[in-house]
Symmetry: C2
Subunit: 336 residues, 2 copies
DNA sequence: CTCCATCGTTCAATCGATTGACTGCTGAAG
DNA sequence: CTTCAGCAGTCAATCGATTGAACGATGGAG
């Protein structure tokens, strides 16, 4: 790739305006300590405009050791949940005149570690990590870098922002209990993921604190296929549940398919509710009842925490407002 | 934000190894012109390891004027179509030891222009733009920068990679004609978008070359609501179509909802086919028949073109392989 | 008439790595 | 004994912007 090397530098501007490079720099950065004649400032600005001068951000970053850019790593662009969070963080970044750059990192892809590399190399000022990171590839804890994790706790790194998953699951259970359900099952996510474990634990707690025993707990591995398989298992059981709390939307979509394939009507024979809402959820058949999580709030809070803390400080925020039931047509009172 | 200033530099490594900084640089970059004793190289490597030295990418970039990082701007993370393309480009970038950073830019957000700023500022080596860019904010054509656009042509910028939309639409029409349809309508996208215009033009061409006249053409504005509204209009017409080609999946989801709301059965009374496939399309009711587009191929080709051309060269690629019908349950022969 | 403060700028070191040119040394050829 | 070729590194300029310190000119106070 051939670079256009004729881009003007600050020296060119200075020469054209007949001043020192320092003046150009100070004018452009609106340095308050600079005393300057209006005429000179105007000459500088004119030279800048005429040459179409654009400061070289690399050089500036080398000097200032800041880039005004933050990174974000999510597990997968295909999951619309993350889309909403990314967008919220981008908007928050806009407000602070920062730029957000995003990447995805399937487990084992090493991309999360590449972004940590950007951070170590000084090419971004901070990093938000929502993707699984190989513990072995983490920077040594001694090296405190400005990053924190989203929606997951990483051993040895007490800097994270989480959803209040237990509260969300409790809300789902309440919704079902209010409809009259008592035989409630859970389709969980993979127990390698912190969020899935939190939701599972939340389900158990919510049930026991309401003096109910879980009808069944099966894994849906957070995927559509996994959810379909899980629903099949539940329907094959002798004590079939009358309602299911599904740990995420992809699994729930699969669960609906599984029920349909088995000729079981939702919600007449079994109710389904999922954690996380999705714009397309109302296009499912039946439209899916969900628990909407505070996606934008999580994103905003994460960026703010990252900006306002040093790497030495702990960040252990839990976002619980607003969490609400989006009641659609996949939940109903149980058959009597 | 407080930066960890005690990160070791090349000078530290050089001091520890008892050599010149130049040696460290050459060892690390495997400079073939460097003659060096094995013992010295080992000392350098040992010093690097012991200090945990990590080269400062900013400084390197300042010197070399390259960053090994490319940018990508998409219109919206929430659209799963882009998710697939982003992922493909990330993988292609991996193969070339490059990093891809992505951002989204709703029209008018100015984010696309920010990424062009990254390019001008030398913080990325190239840029792929899939989002609408305000023509007024484009760098002057005189300033040839290494960027190209995806899935859209921008006036005055003959560097783009497109889907073969006419071929896709023709395939959809063929599918319907083969089923026996003749009264075919089109739910188009917003005519501000190049892709929507290409699909519309493709529809007209495909119909006329098969000696059919479009039953109707209405705008669905690429949104779920727009698609629902459009379907309502079509069903209200005196000459109701027996099949509809919908320009994207979001509109198609809306169209299905619209038909259901009007009590019209899909596909018994009206067939629906959409451009672009989606993993969740089989969760719709009925599962949606689609035309799968070569998403990954477009992404890969775009990155390769960007890497292998200078900003002065034109790039006008059209990706037409593989485009295929994914037949699900939303299309069927017309009622007789 | 001298001294000092202020104004409006300039000087030059610095950030950390890269790279073309150069040097001191050893050993072998002549 | 000289000379020259390689070896093993070293020197120092450079990328482009930032920033604390310094500097000459001007004007006012004493």
């Amino acid at each position: 790739m051939i670079r256009n090397s004729k881009r003007p530098t600050m020296a060119d501007v200075a020469a054209k305006a007949g001043v020192d490079r320092a003046v150009v720099s100070r004018v452009l950065n609106e340095d308050a300590t600079l005393k300057i004649r209006e005429a000179t400032r105007a000459r500088v600005m004119a030279a800048v405009a005429e040459l179409g001068y654009q400061p070289n951000a690399i050089a500036r970053s080398l000097r200032t050791a800041r880039t005004s850019t933050f990174g974000l790593v999510i597990p997968d662009f295909a999951n619309p949940i993350w889309a909403k969070i990314v967008t919220a963080i981008e908007e928050e970044a806009d407000h602070h005149d920062l730029l957000l750059v995003t990447g995805s990192a399937r487990p084992g892809s090493g991309r999360a570690e590449q972004f940590l590399g950007l951070l170590q190399a000084g090419r971004i000022d901070g990093l938000l990590v929502a993707a699984p990171v190989a513990a072995t590839l983490l920077p040594p804890p001694a090296e405190r870098l400005p990053w924190l994790s989203l929606n997951q706790r990483i051993p040895g790194h007490d800097r994270y922002v989480l959803f209040d998953d237990p509260a969300a699951v409790a809300l789902a259970v309440d919704h079902l209990v209010a409809l009259g359900h008592r035989d409630i099952a859970h389709i969980a996510g993979p127990d390698t993921l912190d969020s899935a474990r939190r939701r599972l634990a939340g389900f158990k707690d919510a049930m026991s604190s309401r003096r109910l025993t879980p009808c069944a707990i099966v894994s849906g591995s957070y995927t559509t296929d996994g959810g379909e398989q899980a629903m099949r298992e539940l329907l094959a059981q002798p004590n079939r549940p009358s309602a299911v709390v599904v740990a995420n939307v992809a699994s729930a979509a699969g669960a609906l398919n599984g029920a349909r394939a088995a000729g079981v009507q939702v919600p007449r024979e079994i109710s389904v509710i999922a954690i996380h809402d999705l714009p397309l959820a109302h296009c499912f058949e039946p439209p899916l009842t969900t628990v909407r999580m505070p996606l934008a709030e999580l994103g905003r809070e994460a960026l703010r925490s990252l900006m306002n803390t040093t790497p030495e400080q702990d960040v252990t925020a839990v976002i619980s407002e607003p969490i609400e039931i989006i009641a659609r047509a996949s939940t109903a009172p149980p058959r009597t």
